[in-house]
Amino acid sequence: MSVHHGWVGDPALFVAVHLPERAALGVVICPPLAQEGVSAYRTLRLLAERLEARGVAAVRFDAPGRGESAPVAETGAVLGGAREAAELLRRAGCARIAYLGLASGAFAASAAAEPGDLLVLWDAPRSGRAWLRRQRSLAALTLGPDRVADGVETIVGMDLTEGEVAAIGAAGVAVPAGVRAVAVVRRGEQPPAEVAETVEVDGMEDLLGVSSMTSRIPADAVLTIVDRLAAEAGSGAEESPAGASAEPAPLTPPRLAAERHADGIVERLLRVGPHALFGIETAPRDPAPGAPVLLLHNGASEHRVGAADYQVLWGRELAARGVRVLRVDRRGTGESGELDLDPDDLMFTQAWIDDQDAMIEAAGVDGDRLVVAGLCVGAWLAAHAAPRRPRLVVGISQDVFRPEPAAPNEIVEYFRQVDRVTPARRRLRRAFNRFAPPRLKVLVARTRGRGDVGAHFAPLAEAGVPTVLLLSPLDVAGFADLDGPETVRRMGGAVEVIRLPSGDHSLFSRPARLRVFEELSSRVAAGAAPGAH
């Protein structure tokens, strides 16, 4: 595979360009907004890789102002980026362009398509207004009163400015004149707009209708779309813009920046360790000698940006305060590792502990300069950094404390089983929670894989590494089930527990995110000299 990562343009757009040796057609893949974009990340990467293997070029991008792309002030910019991405493919040598938008990515795709282009609307909502209605409802159920806090509206996985609300609310999926459109829909559903062709696919409910942790790549949809676009690439040029050739031409890799400079900080691409893990370092442009280094892990099987891009924003803010921040995709997430239609999930496995070792090795520091922090599985991993004796470990929303790693797929299958709970099992669980003695509950929680708080933190305590746990109300309850408070009390202050008054496990809640960052930044940046600005 030949994928080129980097930034292009101003404000800089972060892109991943997949180029076969020769191609006639280039596909601009427009990702969904918010948490749907996180759930769909692996699917869209696999789509691009499969297209490349069939002789079709593709570009993926983070929407302007989102993910690894540079901040933007322009209202509605979040629906842009597609034409800039298409220009990369044209400069590489692609004669024809197709815009493909998945879910809310269809807004950007349909806005960008021009006469002669192909437009693929994949599981597209009827309108921006309908999409907002769905996302606001989901946020209300998930976040409760935190959905709107301090005048900022949050949907699951994205904070919205008033300008973004207006732009998305006005967006649609109309097919521009002269554009041929294909709608890829769930079986039995109607296309969202008048299109030339409708294709039905299976599996979309398991991609976007579940949590990002348990979402699955919709193999049927990916293979169907790849076949359709490969056929398009091989079709005649009679429907193409004047002069466009249907013959595959040799492609030239685009010129992309491997670094992005802004406001006294620099962001650069990383490849880490024997598995060439993909990552991004955000650092002061002129770091002070001895500047702290934060290895910041995301949770679950998600890539390096975090809900509402908080890990990117934290990286940039901490870099401005003199801290080098590394965010690296573990194998099977983001841009790292091999992908197939049914990839192994590596949550809580030894492979991810090994990946973390490679990240710390790449950071080039340990001991007093190193801080390791992470959310959920990232918190579990951070505790495994004990042999490096970091200055500090910060665990956010940690709810699993198993001393031993899990087998591949063990954890994700457990959560899929939870989603399929039967009424009898539910009754049994309720009776157990009501009547079982506390010691038995702790024992069962440990044997069911959530772990042993004392054994989990013992290596950190023995190494003299201060540890801070920042727990949402839900995680506080789980911690109590494992006898966590009493266990850490017996450890004599090696583990400090901070209970957040509100918020959710994943930090979708903006107030919880701000509170956690306040705590993290004050401890990480302590002693750091701000970089030259």
Binding site: R134, S137, L141, G209, V210, D419, V421, P423
Partner: protein
């Protein structure tokens, strides 16, 4: 249609929406009105899909104050929410 008959019709429509979009671990037809839906595999994503289907079916829009987990906790709670929304329209 009497009040009782109208409620039965609402519950039938709710069961239909649950069957199509609820992703329950059991048949929607076998779920008693008071059964905890979250106990049979209902999720927030599924709840939103069911809500949107009910809005289409009844030509209503649930107000923000009803967008809580409790509203989607059982068929009976959903029927109450439909009734309240319709009355306020």
């Amino acid at each position: 249609m009497t009040g009782a008959a109208a409620r039965e019709a609402d519950i039938a429509a709710i069961r239909d929406a649950l069957g199509r979009f609820g992703r329950l671990s059991v048949s929607a037809g076998s779920v008693a009105p008071e059964t905890d839906l979250y106990g049979v595999g209902f999720t927030s994503h599924a709840a939103v899909n069911v809500m949107l289907a009910l809005e289409d079916a009844f030509d209503i829009e649930f107000p923000d104050e009803l967008l809580t987990r409790a509203t989607f906790g059982s068929i009976a709670a959903l029927a109450d929410a439909v009734s309240r929304t319709r009355a306020a329209a």
